[in-house]
Amino acid sequence: MNRHKLTKTLLPALAVLALAACQTNSPVVGDGSVSYGDAKAVEAVTTDLGSTDIQTTAETMTRSLLQHPVIQTAIRRRELLVASPVQNKTSEYFDTSLITDTILAQLQKNGMRYVVEGANMQNQVDELRRQNQSGLYKKSTTAKIGGMHGAKFRLDGSVSSITKKNNSMKDVYYKINLRLIEIETGIVEWSDEKEIRKSAKR
């Protein structure tokens, strides 16, 4: 009886020990309370605009742009694009450049060229001034002032939302609208919308 009990408790313990001996250490520092997740997973933590919304919006818009003849011609002719700041008309805070930066990066992988946008212009101007006015650089290697290229197209848009609440649920409807505008003429050559509905129980 006693022997039977011993085998019943000892054997599994030994098996666990043997298995533990087989495991290798992961190259991780930490007590296990922090972990890395899938950046492409569907994020449904709150009804606020989240990573999945940003990713799917940028994806939809890029694919829509890419199949438009104006963009395909612009890629062939090496015409330039610039991103204007996308207006955030919703009540929550988020950085709209998350959307436009991804769109520009994905278009560039297909050969589209774009120029520095207004928000990042200061760094560009600083560098040009440093090269030309500091007197530190060899004349033959400095980038000349007055040689920057102007874009032919401008990407613009807005994000709006409608929020509805009652005792049992909250519903948020987002609409992201993007437009491609020819700068010289002001003609909107392309526009597209992405709609997102997020609901939560209260």
């Binding site: 492409k40 997973a41 449904a44 799917t56 890419l66 395909q72 994905q106 297909n110």
Partner: protein, 142 residues
């Protein structure tokens, strides 16, 4: 002479206007293109069309049919490959989609790059079942 030239031009234009059928590697069946994480219990891929237009972008249209009367949640994403089967684009985000009871829903995918000539569709549904105990991380072809 003039008539035959006109006819030839017309025929040429007709051929140009036709969409080019994409080169589909493998047996070209739905099963070879769809990778399901577990066995889809109620949602079925009922139709799949692939077309590469003259601009060189691959376009995919998938019909998902919900065979149950309850709403089903679907998560899907495409993986874009070149002629050699190499991945030509980063992982897409998973996309959530609700398919109502007995509804057939059309999902469309446009290749993110001109290099893509083939694709795989990854699908997952919370109601997916796992039969015959496959090893963890394995993919069951639907």
């Amino acid at each position: 002479m003039k008539k035959s030239f006109l006819a030839a031009t017309f025929l040429g234009l007709c051929v140009l206007a036709l969409p080019l059928q994409a080169q589909v590697t493998g047996d070209g069946s739905i099963a070879s293109k769809v990778e399901s994480l577990g066995e889809m219990a109620n949602l079925k891929v009922s139709d799949l069309r692939v077309v590469a237009r003259r601009d060189g972008l691959l376009r995919v249209q998938v019909t998902i049919t919900n065979e149950s009367s309850a709403n089903e949640q679907l998560y899907y994403r495409f993986r874009w490959l070149d002629n050699d089967g190499l991945v030509v684009w980063e992982e897409e985000p998973w996309k959530p989609e609700v398919v109502y009871g007995l509804q057939s829903k059309i999902l469309t995918g446009i290749a993110p790059t001109f290099q893509a000539t083939d694709f795989r569709l990854e699908v997952q549904s919370p109601n997916n079942s796992v039969t015959s105990n496959p090893p963890p991380g394995s993919i069951i072809r639907q």
